[in-house]
């Protein structure tokens, strides 16, 4: 019903008239689709500077006279009482916003507010060039302008401050419904501080999945800006090989700090991977694999594996590993074999013992080609004593042999 830019030329009047200029509107909560305006900020010469009034004291908006009518200004408070509230003009107008509907980044050239009952709600954002023109020449909007409006329901507003999330600033958080790949793609179009802010907004597991598919340079830039406890949780939720990729590129001091503070199990997985130098099979494998002892009956194995199958990203192969040290690799079961096997058979009986195996210091490119040529989903990596160290998945193989420019887009389905 009214554009913010237009509203900002309005005066604030009560029964006595009064010479007050509207400066800004504030919103306290952003997590509804169309957030209501909570306060108005105006400049009053007789009250000494900027004052704040709650929206409920507003009686009405009069577009013809270009004024906002209030009951009185008795409830007016100092500007400092506003706290974390978002100021539409200062914070939101001209800010970078994500248009989730079109999966693009744009700027809020103007904001569209609609009056409903006694409330004024933010309902859309204008991203057109016409909005800029309108602000320049201070003309009023006409009905044709509505074409360039984007529903506020699908807009994510960012501040460019990664710490704002933990400080309790309000957010819309609609973005959490998008798949991680699309979120990662969106973050590649915004400045790194905004990207870190966006990531902080997500639940940890989604942030981990999103971070996994970002470009390597971006990963580090963004990760370093995350708040420490959040970063730790994200690192823990990531596939250990991808987490190791990030930790291996951090400042050594920072890396040491994180490795010390990670939960023991997750920390050990990452540290084990960091022992292999870059450019070896060890540096591209993951050690988050599902294993089962050979003598177990399938029926037992099912309950044994129920929990173990929940966590890792790669569950397509179950590796058969001896119970006793050195935990020699004996064979492999595909998930299909495992599901279709008879209850009374043992794992040993149905496993495939004829395996191709990689060794940790091989060249990763050769290993990549070998895996692609074998047309399998993964190949195990074994150590000196035949023990299982990890597995190289098809994702890792593809990103080894793909041209550099494709690597970022290479699928990361299993990790």
């Amino acid at each position: 019903m009214v554009m913010l830019s237009e509203l900002l030329h309005y005066r604030v009047t009560d029964a006595q008239g009064g010479n007050r200029k509207l400066i800004d509107l504030t919103i306290r909560q952003l997590d509804t689709d169309y957030p209501p305006v909570t306060h108005i900020i105006y400049h009053s010469t007789d009250q000494g500077g900027e004052r704040v009034l709650p929206w409920k004291t507003v009686k009405g908006i009069d577009p013809a006279a270009r004024q906002i009518e209030i009951e009185n200004n008795k409830q007016a408070k100092d500007i400092d009482t506003l706290g974390q509230a978002v100021r539409l003009r200062r914070d939101m107008l001209d800010a970078l916003i994500l248009d989730l509907q079109n999966r693009r980044t744009t700027r809020a050239n103007d904001l569209w507010l609609e009056q409903e009952d006694q409330e004024l709600r933010l309902t859309a954002v204008d991203t057109s060039g016409r909005a800029i023109l309108r602000r320049l020449v201070r003309s009023r909007s006409d009905s044709r302008d509505r074409r360039a409006l984007y529903d506020w329901k699908y807009i994510e507003f960012l501040r460019g401050d990664p710490r704002a999330v933990k400080a309790g600033a309000p957010y819309h958080s609609r973005i959490v419904h998008l798949p991680p790949g699309e979120i990662a793609h969106l973050t590649s179009t915004i400045p790194y501080l905004h990207a870190a802010e966006l990531l902080s907004l997500l639940p940890e597991h989604l942030a981990a999945d999103t971070l996994e598919v970002m470009s390597p340079e971006r990963q580090v830039q963004v990760f370093e800006e995350l708040e420490e406890t959040f970063a730790l949780q994200v690192l823990k939720d990531m596939a250990p090989d991808l987490a190791a990729d990030i930790v291996g590129r951090l400042d050594i001091k920072l890396a040491q700090n994180y490795l010390n503070r990670l939960p023991k199990a997750a920390g050990k997985q990452i540290i084990d991977l960091l022992k292999y130098p870059a450019n070896t099979v060890g540096s591209i494998m993951t050690n988050d694999v599902v294993t089962v002892p050979p003598q177990l009956k399938i029926e037992k194995a099912r309950s044994f594996l129920r929990e173990k199958l929940k966590e890792p990203d790669f569950v397509y192969f179950i590796y058969v590993v001896e119970d006793q040290p050195p935990h020699k690799l004996r064979g492999v079961l595909s998930l299909r074999q495992f599901l279709t096997a008879e209850d009374e058979q043992t794992v040993e009986e149905i496993m495939n013992p004829y395996l191709l195996a990689l060794t940790p210091f091989d060249s990763p490119t050769e290993a990549g080609y070998r895996l692609l040529n074998s047309q399998l989903a993964a190949l195990p990596v074994v150590g000196k004593e035949g023990q299982l160290l990890g597995t190289v998945t098809i994702d890792a193989a593809v990103s080894q042999v793909a041209p550099r420019s494709w690597r970022a887009q290479a699928p990361k389905v299993f990790s």
């Binding site: 050239n109 501080l193 830039q221 291996g248 050594i252 040491q256 690799l329």
Partner: protein, 461 residues
């Protein structure tokens, strides 16, 4: 794998004999002992940053390109004109400007690293749409003038090779447009950069021309001032070509593009410093070389590129024209592609419309329209018959100098914004140098505009 006792895949995996497998990789390279949870572990994955000279060379990048872009067609014309007209007298300006340039460019890259955003983005967010439109307008006008300069440079270089500019300029325009939009530009940019290396000939030419080093020293460290209109005009031109609004924008956005984060900014500032020193060293030697040859010989006006090339004769003799032509061509092509591109990015940034060469005309009409329009404008205007080439080049630099204080104010305001910059906020020394530069330039511009008015009124000549 050849040592395996059991052939892989043909015998059960448990029969593989891997006992000959090494305990550690053959080239164990960097290994790092870290104390984690009280236990010492050897990690080999960490890549230590390169040390020594290589480390510093890797940092060089945007600063060098941005500052070298200042030595484009307009820059060369201004420096040569300065040397021919006033000999060594104006070198002191360049010495002062080296400090200013280093400070201004460093602030640009610091803004980029601390915020991850471009200059126009920040102006829009902090000062609102009106100011950002003003900044955009300034950039647009200044850059449009510069684009014409670049195409004039391309035409002039063509003529040094005996080719007709009527053919070379349109061809260059089409080729630049095509390369930027359809792909292999990053590769071509390197060729242009290599071509500009020719300007390394200037330091050598300056030495071989045998200037009176005493005079050079006096010119460099003892400021002189002549109340002549052309002196002031060239002085502002020097300011304008050495420190350009476009260069600050470019420095900032390429720092962002490089992915420099605020936590790692420290050593990156060397890039801006090195770029400033390097490019001004070339500029100063251009002035010295022209002063020692043309000015000494009594030729105080430069009418064409061929005149300017004469300064290289003491060094390369008859090859001077060709060599100068190659350098001029490289510099002009480089800037001729970068300027329209940077302008299109900047304008789209302010307006919040889609941008990027990976899109197409339908999806990003403003971006592509601007880019195409600027190249077209540059090529067409540069081909206007009887356009006074050198005057145009120098005048555009003066225009750039005149607009400079406005962009500088934005930079200085932004970089002192604690909320935005955090610990990378300007220090006091930086503020003194930054505002000093601002006042130096503003004074020069005011004096120049004043003298123009006075001369129009017939008070001075």
């Amino acid at each position: 794998m050849s040592e395996n006792s059991a052939p892989q895949g043909l015998e059960p995996v448990e029969e593989l004999d891997l006992s000959s497998l090494p305990d550690r990789p053959s080239d164990s390279g960097d290994s790092l002992r870290l104390n984690i949870r009280g236990r010492s572990v050897t990690l080999r994955r960490f890549q230590r940053p390169p040390k020594g000279l290589l480390r510093w060379l890797l940092i060089l990048g945007p600063g060098l390109i941005a500052s070298s872009a200042g030595n484009d067609a307009g820059g060369i014309a201004t420096y040569c004109q300065t040397g021919a007209k006033f000999g060594y007298d104006l070198i002191w300006v360049m010495v002062l400007l080296t400090v200013s340039l280093a400070v201004v460019q460093e602030m640009g890259s610091r803004l980029g690293a601390a915020t991850g955003r471009g200059l126009l983005d920040l102006i829009r967010e902090r000062f609102g749409i009106n100011w950002s439109l003003l900044a955009m307008g300034i950039l647009f006008v200044a850059n449009s003038g510069l684009v014409v300069s670049e195409f004039l440079g391309i035409g002039a270089a063509a003529e040094l090779f005996g080719l007709s500019k009527w053919i070379v300029v349109p061809v260059a325009a089409v080729v630049l447009w095509y390369l930027v939009i359809f792909g292999s530009y990053a590769w071509v940019e390197k060729i242009f950069l290599v071509m500009t290396l020719v300007f390394f000939a200037y330091p050598v030419a300056a030495i071989l021309a045998g200037p009176d080093w005493g005079d050079v020293g006096r010119g460099a460290f003892i400021p002189t001032f002549r109340p002549e209109q052309e002196y002031i005009f060239l002085l502002v031109g020097l300011l304008g070509t050495t420190i350009t609004p476009f260069m600050q924008l470019f420095q900032q956005s390429s720092t962002v593009e490089r992915g420099v984060a605020r936590r790692h900014y420290g050593p990156e500032r060397v890039d801006a410093y090195a770029g400033a020193i390097f490019s001004n060293l070339i500029s100063i030697t251009m002035i010295i070389a022209t002063a020692a040859t043309l000015h000494e010989a009594g030729q105080t006006q430069i009418e064409s590129a061929a005149d300017a090339a004469k300064a290289l004769e003491p060094f390369v003799g008859n090859a001077a024209r060709t060599l100068f032509g190659v350098g001029l061509m490289g510099a002009s092509l480089l800037a001729g592609a970068v300027l329209p591109l940077a302008t299109a990015y900047a304008v789209s940034e302010v307006l919040g419309v889609p941008k990027g060469v990976s899109l197409d005309f339908r999806r990003a009409p403003i971006f592509f329209g601007l880019f195409t329009g600027m190249i077209l404008f540059g090529a067409v205007v540069s081909l206007i018959p009887n356009l006074p080439v050198i005057q145009w080049l120098v005048t555009v630099q003066v225009l750039n100098g005149t607009l400079l204080p406005i962009t500088l104010i934005f930079i200085l305001r932004l970089i002192n914004d604690e909320q935005l910059m955090g610990t990378l906020k300007n220090t006091r020394v930086y503020n003194i140098l930054g505002w000093g530069t601002f006042f130096l330039i503003t004074t020069a511009v005011v004096v120049m505009l004043g003298s123009q008015v006075l001369s129009m009124l017939g008070v001075i000549k």
